[in-house]
């Protein structure tokens, strides 16, 4: 709204030259910041396309003299993590197997929780919500050891279902928050109308609330996906051979303490590991912010 309101004023008091100069300055600043934000990504991409030789001799920010995708191939399917030299590929699929169900389940539970807290107010619902919200802020290091014990007791230690479980539990706070804040703004008369129409708890949720929830589902899915995909702490603690996610593999490649460092492979692996979240942000970032401001942090 505001920009429209500002720009169309017919008469400006400043001279035209000053206005134009200011506008240029503005663009220069914006571009400078864009460069700042892009710098690391730029370094990563260019480095991944250089040969090791060129990296040693060349400039950090120089464009590759000769573009080679060898590092990418190696990172995807040839780099060694320990004695296996399969690249990040198997770990990448592990991450997919963990992230997809965890995102779906935590979103669904968050939706139901949010629906209850926002629309089926009962004594104690707010207390529950406050407890849940506070849980969002707990540093995850605190829960590592007891969680390990719990997973053991539940018999899912070291398995992909175990990791999914952990992500779901610690994702609940945010997913519930998102949905609750979204559903709070839906008039309660809708529930009343449906009750009079004879629909029950699930029917109302399924037929009326879920179809309405697309924007907030987008937000929640993006948020959860980013969190879970980028997670390292849980991945390294609660996995075992064969269930490690891509971040752990990346760490194994990048953080090995001995031997020749293949920086181009490191960077290629890093970009591969980041690609899914990056794509999600570039494509859906707009909806993300829109939904987020409509939901959790609206003024």
């Amino acid at each position: 709204m505001t920009d429209a309101a500002f720009t169309n004023t017919p008469a400006r008091t400043q001279g035209k030259a000053v206005t134009v100069a200011l506008r240029w300055l503005l663009y220069v600043l914006l571009i400078a910041f864009a460069l700042f934000y892009l710098a690391p990504l730029f370094v990563m991409v260019t480095t991944s396309l250089k040969s090791l030789e060129e990296i040693r001799t060349g400039d950090l920010i120089a464009l590759p003299r000769e573009v080679t995708f060898d590092a990418w191939a190696t990172a995807w399917s040839g780099a060694c993590t320990g004695i296996q030299c399969e690249g990040v590929r198997p770990y990448f699929w592990n991450s997919v197997l963990i992230a997809v169900p965890a995102v779906l389940i935590s979103t669904l539970i968050g939706a139901i929780n949010g629906y209850v807290v926002a629309q089926w107010q009962f004594r104690g619902a707010n207390v529950f919500f406050a407890l849940l919200l506070f849980g969002c802020f707990i540093p995850f290091q605190v829960v590592l050891l007891p969680m390990a014990r719990m997973l053991g007791l539940m018999g899912i230690a070291g398995t992909i279902p175990g990791l999914i479980f952990v992500h779901v539990v610690y994702g609940l706070g945010f997913t519930t928050l998102f949905f609750r804040n979204y559903y709070v703004s839906i008039p309660s008369e809708l529930v009343k109308a449906a009750k009079v129409d004879g629909a029950g708890f699930f029917r109302i949720f399924w037929s009326i609330f879920l179809p309405l929830s697309l924007p907030i589902i987008v937000v929640t899915v993006i948020w959860q996906f980013t969190q879970i995909w980028n997670d390292f702490l849980f991945g390294v603690s609660f996995s075992q051979a064969g269930t490690q996610p891509v971040t752990v593999a990346l760490n194994n490649i990048v953080n090995s303490t001995t031997g020749v460092k293949e920086y181009n492979v490191d960077m290629a692996a890093a970009i591969i590991a980041a690609l899914p979240t990056l794509i999600v942000y570039v494509i859906a970032g707009k909806y993300f912010i829109r939904g987020l401001t409509a939901g959790s942090v609206k003024g």
């Binding site: 709204m1 505001t2 920009d3 429209a4 309101a5 500002f6 004023t9 503005l26 864009a34 934000y37 710098a39 690391p40 990563m44 480095t47 950090l60 539970i109 139901i112 929780n113 209850v116 089926w120 009962f122 707010n126 529950f128 406050a130 407890l131 849940l132 849980g135 802020f137 707990i138 540093p139 995850f140 290091q141 605190v142 829960v143 050891l145 969680m147 539990v169 609940l172 519930t176 709070v184 708890f201 699930f202 980013t226 980028n230 702490l233 971040t247 990346l250 490191d266 960077m267 980041a274 979240t277 990056l278 942000y281 570039v282 970032g285 707009k286 912010i289 959790s296 942090v297 003024g299």
Partner: protein, 289 residues
């Protein structure tokens, strides 16, 4: 049947409630308990009193870590907010290609520091990155060695953290600016108020709730900051860039000193509590009205 129908909402909430009770509060209680023991490699449960806290407060490394939290937190939160606000105002000036610029500012939020840490380490490394590059251009005296300077290293952490989060803050503020009633701005224009006064006196003060949200998000990130330090400095030089989260991690996992780790975790929880509870209180009250 009647009973089921009436209590269905509660029943639906019950599993989550249980999960939160156990996996958040149960675990906090567990940590509290362990912080009172002499647990080393694995937790033990014989209560020994407050020795771990005494050790914690005697430890110069903890002093550094705890002090860093406030230094880092203040700078990170402060600068991210200011930068985010300035960028949002810039972008609010009917900028061409606004969508693309917004995406560029926002994307770091999508990446984990595990991923970008290496690139940052390079850029900040005096021998490899920015400093070397500028010197190669002929400015031999150029110095940018924060990463390797004990007194300055914490600022590189701040820098990377700002890089990661300020775009997000910008997006929040931009949405806030856009939600201000257009008629208010028209009214101000007719009142003869110059554009910068409209921002400073009218729009920005009315975005207080967004400032609060941004503050909470950033504070939460600051307290949880961990990847960032590990990827960038590993806590060094020395332990100049330790934060409570890394302190706790290293106590628990490289020192085999779980009791100590638990006590530091409890102090962290205290900080979180002090920040979050007032916020939650106001949030829930406001939404209930």
């Amino acid at each position: 049947m009647q009973f089921l129908e009436r209590n269905l909402p509660k029943i639906m909430l019950a599993p989550s409630f249980l999960a939160v009770l156990i996996f958040v509060y149960g675990f906090i209680a567990w940590t509290g308990w362990v912080s009172l023991t002499r647990s080393r490699l694995l937790p033990r449960y014989d209560i020994e009193g407050f020795i771990q806290y005494e050790r914690l407060f005697d430890s110069p490394r903890w002093d550094t870590a705890f002090g860093n939290l406030f230094l880092f937190g203040a700078l990170f939160i402060g600068i991210s907010m200011i930068l985010g606000l300035v960028l949002a105002i810039f972008l609010d000036q009917n900028i061409r290609a606004e969508g693309a610029i917004r995406t560029i500012y926002l994307y770091p939020m999508a990446l984990s520091m595990i991923v970008t840490g290496t690139a940052w380490k390079w850029i900040l490394n005096p021998g490899l990155g920015l400093e070397a590059m500028v010197r190669r251009w002929g400015f031999e005296d150029f110095r940018f060695d924060w990463l390797v300077n004990s007194d300055m290293a914490i600022y590189t952490i701040v820098l990377a953290a700002i890089w990661q989060s300020s775009g997000f803050v910008m997006a929040l503020f931009l949405a806030g600016l856009r939600s201000v009633d257009g008629e208010i701005i028209k009214a101000a224009q007719i009142d003869g108020i110059p554009t910068w006064r409209i921002y400073s006196a009218i729009i920005i003060p009315s975005m207080a709730p967004i400032f609060l949200s941004a503050f909470i998000v950033l504070a939460h990130l600051a307290i949880k900051s961990f990847d960032l330090v590990i990827a960038l400095t590993g806590g060094g030089p020395g332990f100049a860039t330790d934060l409570p989260a890394t302190y706790m991690f290293s106590m628990a996992f490289s020192r085999g000193d779980i009791g100590q780790a638990a006590s530091s975790a409890m102090v962290m929880m205290g900080v979180v509590f002090a920040i979050v509870v007032p916020y939650l209180y106001s949030e829930l009250r406001a939404k209930n009205d």
